[in-house]
Symmetry: C3
Subunit: 364 residues, 3 copies
């Protein structure tokens, strides 16, 4: 039953990194204080697991028909990010959770989209893609960023610290999930034909049989959860030893690690002149994190976390999410792209990365 | 002479609420301290009066030819809001005046537009409308919001509190009225054909004869002014008894009450697949309040108010106006709509309403 | 060899102002303390010199072929602004340098573009222009403004005042110059045909012979530098005697003086219904200042200035640059224009000018 899985591992060099999964568990037992080593090993182990998770989700989705499949893709598409964030949530590291949410939004809209435009543009002179999908996703993102902006904006005037912000965060979380649900109803059901060309599942690789896919989905999720624990425990001290601020690590490193598998798909789509796919993955993943992962984490914090988590971000993170969304909206408005559009998005990303790298650590 | 008026009252259930006009005056005499009751009665009385006022304005406009009629619509279209705000101005309740201005802009661009898109979209799959009109109105709105943003932005650095802000507000008020006048010249005179399909007056109901219309216009304005006085006096204490903050009441309740008649027109237009009409009413009304009502109130505060009123809003109100305008601009850019576009606008509105509802009362 | 130069001077009334060049030097020697007079004379002398510089640059560019010529135009097109700013830099007047950078961006995107639309629109009913060029320039500008926004945003949280901001400014300056270089590669080399109609050099006037152009370029640059010194020394005290704040002078007066020659070209292009030219000059000049002049000044401040200059602007300047860029982006998105579009841009400019005029002087 696992032979398609093994076959895929043989043909996909990225999956050879799976060897680091046992290595990280061994290292944790043998050298529990070698934080920098454990951090590096856990990063190397999460990347191939995220790839397997992504393929398993798509395989299940492909077998269950369009509507259910779309729903599955839309809820489990960022399972890796969700599991990492849940581990940090249970450990009470809310700052890391929030940084990874904000970072995933910024990284997907700027880095993943920008690199796709650049890689595609270097091979193809001018590329066109379906504007409807890009507009839909960036409108969803815009709504989410407005919602995430509010708790931070009122934090100053909130006299009874926390209580109003927390009540508001809870209300906003519910609102965002409702908007996400209605958005799926719109894009998968009532107005499906508008988003015609952005098929997600059929990206070259054959889907696995249902059994393999389900077993992989469950098994790999458990592995990601276990590796995430090593990752979350080691990330802060590793950051110090690399001279990085925690804000930089949460924003940039976690987002790049969690999104590595999706990036591989987006970039390969861009090279094949299937920019619909790349734009769909980049913006879809960003809006999924903003409208589904983030509010789900708020709701779960009431059950799993040491205390309720709010949607209050530090002002810099809010500005970066707002600018990223605005940039992606303006850039995807025309439905055309050339290499320089990618350069611009990457430059904005580098401005943010440079700022976070240089910021004094007290800020995060 | 009043028979068309009576005929309309018989056929329009909304106008049956007119019975509350005498009731509110009676109640004020009998129970002047029953603030919550007076508040509710005055709301119920203002809604049908606003409807009559709106129809009377359009009837006069229809009889006086395009240019003068357009001018009348453009100046008297928000007469209800103007009269309510003037009553609050005379009572020195500048916070309520400003909250109702900001609230009217936000409510028109998000709630009225969003509900129009949603109601229209539930009946018609995809709706198209004239982009030129929407672009023109949202450009005007954008200018106004930039102008309204400045006094709040400099309030921090203004050492001699008030004087610079006041001088600036006066200058900005003049600038906005000039821009509004030039905008009318552009849309009603020099480039009329660009806005062709957004006819305002012909919305199904037959215009009244001139005499009826003028008498109604004057008489109802007086009634609105009298009811507004009860409304303004009772609103603060009623808010407390409902557990609402004054910011919520000014922003949400006053705006919904004052705009009820226009909303009825906009929604019915959307159901009839005449989205040009709905977009024109929603954005036109918002830009009229920003570029005409608000500056006129500043100028009149020198004559009628206890002290000059500035254009300085609290930062949250500025952000909400800015986000509303940006959202409306981005959303109307394509000239097409489906039900989910309406959902998105309503969601942003709900984010704001929820925030204002939860905000501690000291903020307003 | 100088006969084409003399011929041009005879036919161009603007160049008759050249008589003020010797006058300003004489006046400085005779009345070194007459600051207001020296200020006025230096303004009158810089305007025609900027015109000559602009024509000389274009003549050299026209003779050296498309790629090199485009490069020359792109680097020397704002030579006047650069020389004035360098003089202020050497004098350690960093506030004036920054105000003139921010002011040039705001003035080009709002005043130059707006007046072009208005002047063109008064003569031609609706004008069309190449959107690709406008989009490219406003995307570059948007990137630059995001980069300029960051050092101001983190200035609050920067505990070790200056050091992080300075390191960040240096990094951003390098990033902006790289983006500018890649932008030139894109617009002049790899995707030239997208920007086809925005030819810069061929605007009616015949190019000078190479020798004349080069001599003029060098000679006039020296003269601008000398006059700038008088200008920079006198501007502050002249501002006080005119009742202007230094912020107003840097933002409005310096930008108008430095850009006078380009404005003449942009306005004449608009009247001739060649709006591509006007939009190209206005937005091109703004993005050149943001992505080339500003970072070059930061780099040169390490060599020429008394201390390194950062890219930290006062918050009001950042907001104004952001709003200007956003306004220009929204407005040029359609590729069409009528007179009222120009009015809107000019109105936003007047809002800013009025604010800066009224601001108490401590702010700058």
């Amino acid at each position: 039953m696992l032979s398609p899985l093994l076959k895929e591992i043989r043909h996909n060099p990225l999956l050879w990194l799976l060897v680091f999964v046992p290595v990280v568990f061994a290292a944790e037992r043998l050298a529990p204080d070698a934080h920098t080593l454990l951090f590096l090993l856990s990063v190397l182990a999460i990347v191939p697991l995220a790839g397997l998770l992504s393929h398993a989700t798509e395989s299940v989705a492909a077998k269950t028909g369009d509507a259910v499949g779309g729903l599955l893709n839309a809820t489990l598409g960022n399972l890796t990010e969700l599991v990492i964030a849940l581990t940090a949530l249970r450990a009470g590291q809310y700052m890391l959770v929030k940084a990874s949410i904000a970072g995933a939004i910024v990284t997907n809209t700027l880095f993943m989209l920008g690199a796709s435009f650049l890689l595609g543009g270097l091979k193809h002179r001018v590329q066109e893609y379906n504007r409807a999908g890009a507009r839909f996703q960036s409108a969803l993102l815009f709504l989410a960023v407005v919602a995430l902006l509010v708790p931070s904006a009122i934090a100053d005037v909130d006299r009874a610290p926390g209580t109003v912000t927390q009540a508001l965060s809870l209300g906003l979380a519910v609102l965002l999930i409702v908007a996400y649900g209605l958005g799926m109803l719109f894009s998968l059901k009532t107005h499906r034909e508008l988003f015609a060309s952005a098929e997600h599942a059929e990206e070259g690789e054959a889907p696995w049989p249902m059994g393999t896919a389900l077993v992989t989905l469950v098994g790999v999720t458990v592995l990601v959860a276990l590796v995430s624990e090593v990752f979350v425990e080691s990330v802060q001290e590793a950051a110090v030893s690399f001279g990085m601020t925690p804000a930089f690590v949460g924003f940039i490193v976690v987002a790049l690690v969690g999104g590595a598998a999706e990036m591989a798909s987006a970039f390969s789509g861009a090279r094949k002149n299937r920019l619909d796919l790349s734009v769909g993955i980049a913006l879809g993943s960003a809006s999924q994190i903003a409208l589904f992962v983030a509010p789900v984490l708020v709701l779960l914090s009431y059950v799993l976390g040491p205390a309720p988590m709010s949607l209050e971000f530090w002002p810099g993170a809010v500005s970066m999410m707002l600018i990223s969304t605005l940039t992606a909206t303006l850039v995807t408005n025309s439905g055309r792209s050339a290499w320089f559009v990618g350069v611009l998005l990457l430059m904005v990303y580098m401005v943010f990365a440079m700022t976070l790298y240089l910021l004094p650590p007290q800020v995060s």
